[in-house]
């Protein structure tokens, strides 16, 4: 059954633009058909006078509306990237939910503006298959990069796709779900930047780099309450996966536009609880539509301890560092925060001294952090930098979409 929506417009005299949503209620990029009727011209200034003359109409359509902005996020599974996702989708407004009524084990999240796809869905081998072949999920041989490329490309160009679902509970590949092109597509997983073709589709990429000590502390928090786990099993699991991780996942970080590096604090000697964190936001210079965050004076080197006369902080306090640097041969700027926020006024004080954070109003970063005060990392650099990266992505999205003007429908009459 064909469904169509009819729009009427005023007469096309010279150049007139009609914007119709490229996505109808079905969410598909559909063909537009334009019906027009030429009215006779009396007293036309062109002077040909006959009134029946041959006129030609040129109608041009641009695909501007249907270009999806694609963001890649790379991290190991237990590294809080889902928290990142929630902060990111929150910056755009609206909560991200699994697709309604579909497979309950779907990994996808959808909000008004964004769709988040988990790249595990592109596993070419299910759990049994990987066991048989002796490959981990980290291994490229367990993933179908051709399909990943084709589908991300299709979505980017406004075409919906049937994407497979990898079920983490059963370890099987379930029947596909339909993914309609959103305004912003985020692909999160182990290999968003592994394949060069997929890399080229990304408008922005982020790598979450967690140091071994912090990873261990986080996985202890995650798993210790589980029957079956112990410190030894958690440690063994990290160590067994490390060779594949170092070989296949870690090398992606040199391609990232922004790396969030999480390390143990330097403020407390011999701190091994991973409670206080030192977080570095490594931002590539020269990335289109992305201007790195800085402190006080862009391109200079600054060490800043905000706690003092104007601001009282509790132990161990907060320490910032900002400097230009080189990272895998790329020019970068690094903003670093060590320590944690204890109070609201510390957060707003810090926010007021950062530049290029792409906020729409004073205190927006603080507001976003408060909104998710229960998320892990809300009191340290992980939450702060994830929130700031979210705002930078919003800024990037707005720059990209405003540079595409709405389609002018030009009717020229000879």
């Amino acid at each position: 059954m064909a469904v169509s929506t009819v729009y009427t417009t005023q007469s096309l005299n010279s150049t007139c633009s009609i914007s119709t949503p490229a996505k109808t209620h079905l969410g598909f990029h559909q063909k537009q058909v334009v019906f027009y009727r030429r009215t006779s011209k009396k007293g036309s200034s062109s002077g040909s006078g006959s009134g029946s003359g041959s006129g030609s109409c040129v109608i041009t359509c641009s695909a501007g509306d249907s270009q999806t902005v694609v963001i890649g996020l790379a991290a190991d599974s237990g590294c809080g990237k889902s928290t990142f996702m929630r902060r990111l989708t929150s910056v755009f407004g609206g909560a991200a939910e699994p697709p309604k009524g579909g497979n309950p084990d779907s990994n996808t999240l959808i909000s008004d503006m964004t769709t988040v796809i988990c790249l595990d869905d592109y596993h070419s081998l299910d759990r049994t298959g990987r066991k048989e072949k002796g490959v981990t999920a980290l291994d490229p041989r367990a993933n179908d990069f051709d399909l990943m490329y084709e589908q991300v490309k299709a979505i980017k160009n406004g075409v919906a796709v049937d994407k497979p679902i990898y079920n983490h509970v059963t370890g099987l590949l379930d029947p596909p779900e339909l993914i309609k092109p959103p305004k912003i597509l985020v692909i999160e997983g182990l290999h968003p930047m592994f394949d060069e073709r997929v890399r080229d589709l990304l408008d922005f990429s982020i790598y979450l780099d967690i140091s071994n000590e912090v990873k261990f502390a986080w996985k202890i928090q995650r798993d210790m309450a589980e029957r079956g786990h112990s410190l030894e099993s958690i440690k063994a699991s990290i160590e067994a996966r490390k060779p594949d991780f170092d070989a296949y996942i870690d090398p992606q970080k040199k391609y990232a536009d922004a790396v969030i590096e999480v390390l143990p604090t330097q403020l407390i000697p011999d701190d091994n609880e991973g409670k206080v964190l030192r977080v570095r936001l490594i931002m590539k210079e020269g990335v289109k539509n992305f201007s790195p965050v800085y402190l006080f004076d862009e391109g200079s080197t600054i060490s800043w301890i905000p706690c003092g006369r104007k601001l009282t902080c509790s132990y161990p306090g907060i320490k910032f560092h900002y400097a230009p640097d080189s990272y895998f041969g790329n020019e970068v700027s690094i903003l670093e925060m060590d320590g944690q926020f204890d109070r609201l006024d510390e957060l707003i004080y810090v926010e007021s001294h950062l530049s290029n954070i792409s906020t729409k109003f004073y205190g927006e970063v603080t507001q976003q952090m408060l909104k998710h005060a229960d998320f892990p990392g809300s009191n340290n650099g992980t939450g702060l930098f994830q929130t700031i990266v979210g705002l930078k992505i919003r800024d990037l999205y707005e720059q990209i979409t405003s540079s595409k003007t709405a389609a002018p429908l030009e009717a020229t009459k000879a």
Partner: protein, 130 residues
């Protein structure tokens, strides 16, 4: 100025605040198994449907089983492919369980909610009763 309390997520921090938590961290022997699993399921928060309770239970059992398997497999050669695949499976199910726990405890939602609105008759969508 308002004082904000941020949650501390470390185990040691949590234990300091509530020594009773010690009990929850140590696995029970077979005798206490039923009680522990019930307690741990109850502690997960918003589980409403039978299907969610089944998934929780399955993931918990898988973690336990796969850790034992991994230990066995790695006894021979720690660097073998079989060993790293075994621990990778442990990681996968541990993360799946943690994701489910987060949805139930922090977001206070049952992941089957929208599925069960459409399919209330299925076995999975029976309301879970203790």
């Amino acid at each position: 100025m308002a004082t904000l309390g941020f949650n501390s997520f470390t185990i040691t921090g949590a234990l300091e605040k509530n020594p009773k938590l010690r009990l929850a961290l140590f696995p029970c022997d077979k005798k206490g198994e039923k009680r522990v699993s019930r307690t741990s399921v109850k502690a997960m928060g918003a589980a409403k449907y039978k299907g969610t309770q089944m998934r929780e239970k399955k993931l918990t059992e898988m973690i336990e089983k796969k850790v034992l398997e991994a230990k066995e497999v790695c006894e021979g050669d720690k660097t073998s492919d079989e060993c790293k695949v075994a621990w990778d499976e442990v990681e996968e199910v541990s993360q799946a369980k943690a994701d489910l726990r987060r949805t139930l405890q922090i977001e206070k939602k049952d992941p089957l909610e929208s599925f069960c609105q459409e399919n209330p008759e299925t076995e999975e969508c029976r309301i879970y009763e203790d």
